[in-house]
Symmetry: C2
Subunit: 238 residues, 2 copies
């Protein structure tokens, strides 16, 4: 009996069990209560035991994000791109709404985790399958921002780096690692596809300001159209 209890308690820890417990803890007690100590206690284990499964707290957060993003529905095929994107985004939103802490966590990571990149890659793929040029797909991804993830934010915002900014260090474009192109081919394709001019400045990376204004103007144009039509309510005849 004591033996059984022992066995039970000793259900071996694993990276997966740690991540799930962390997500559960954040869900029910808030992300601010997620400490290595609290998490360890929930798992009936001493804090340092966790470090055998995750490198540190940042990696724990990354892992939690991946667990969640992995739950977003796979892309539907054989339907119009617009509907496919719409469904996917709403699925993402649904998933993220179950984990209210997740949007901020995703945004605060220095850069996207593999699961997030995979998701974004598949969204780009959907646009491209719908006949979008890499160029337009690029702008469109910026325009949707992280709304594509069920909330919104500039996803590729270099300013997020948090570090000592200062105009002194222009911070080179930090070319993507080669494995990146292999794993996320569509992202890789649009990464170089931002020609903001006919004389495209090749390899210049992308112009944040341009992307921001592009999205802003698309929004303002859409808003103007509503306004001019005398929009009042989505369904006039209920």
């Amino acid at each position: 009996m004591a033996e059984q209890a022992e066995t039970l308690r000793r259900t071996p820890l694993s990276r997966d069990r740690v991540l799930r417990a962390a997500v559960a803890l954040a869900d029910e007690a808030g992300i601010e209560s997620l400490s290595m100590r609290n998490l360890a206690q929930d798992l009936g284990v001493v804090p340092m035991a966790l470090y055998k499964h995750v490198a540190n707290k940042d990696e724990l957060l990354d892992g939690m994000i991946d667990v969640i993003v992995g739950q977003i529905d796979p892309p539907a095929s054989d339907i119009h791109w617009k509907d496919a994107i719409r469904r996917r985004v709403l699925s993402a939103r649904e998933v993220l709404r179950r984990h209210p802490w997740a949007p901020l966590a995703i945004e605060s990571r220095t850069m996207a985790t593999p699961a997030v990149l995979a998701y974004l890659d598949s969204v780009v793929a959907t646009f491209k399958a719908g006949g979008f040029s890499a160029n337009l797909a690029h702008h469109v991804m910026h325009t949707m921002g992280s709304r594509v993830l069920g909330f919104s934010q500039e996803l590729f915002d270099a300013s997020r780096q948090a570090g000592r900014s200062g105009a002194t260090t222009p911070e080179p474009p930090a070319a993507l690692p080669p494995e990146f192109a292999a794993r996320f081919p569509h992202l890789a394709e649009i990464a170089g596809a931002a020609s903001h001019d006919d004389q495209s400045i090749v390899g210049e990376g992308c112009d944040d300001q341009f992307e921001f204004e592009f999205a802003l103007d698309l929004l303002l144009d859409g808003i103007e159209r509503l306004h001019q039509r005398g929009w009042t309510s989505p369904r006039r005849n209920g």
Copy 2:
């Protein structure tokens, strides 16, 4: 001489000086280096001295945000709403780009600070001056999200509350304090203006899901329009 140094060092601390120093520290060393201890050291003072000017670190962050948001250009009048909004948003973006840590800080605050509310209120005012109904202005504010602040995010996202969610406590709408209506009349007006149906569910607050889909569809429609026109580059003839 020693006297002079004394006098200099003793330039009295003030809430304003604390906030400015905090912004400067966050700007140059990153928000993660902003601790009460580091800040105190920068000011040549002992950590606890700060607490005579700000209640705690959260209030410090709120104050820092207000300092920054207060720098956004005042609204231009006598020009078309679309141009007015565009300029204002780009001004906001410019301000926030000087403080890369600010967007995340703004998002992570439980609720908007007075300066943020004042800014949003004035943006709503611009829409209304352009002839928008309170209803449309409401949706449009959601659609722009915090892009209106130079980045993007659902601004009024209740899920941000971080706390123990759980479907068990439906969390009452938490009616706005009465002073709110007086200080931010336009926000107050649109707050109750979300009729998603002809039989408007009065006082129901607003339907996040509806707002999200409204914005998503506006984006997708705009994107579809670009796509159908065979959009390739913003300026075809350089």
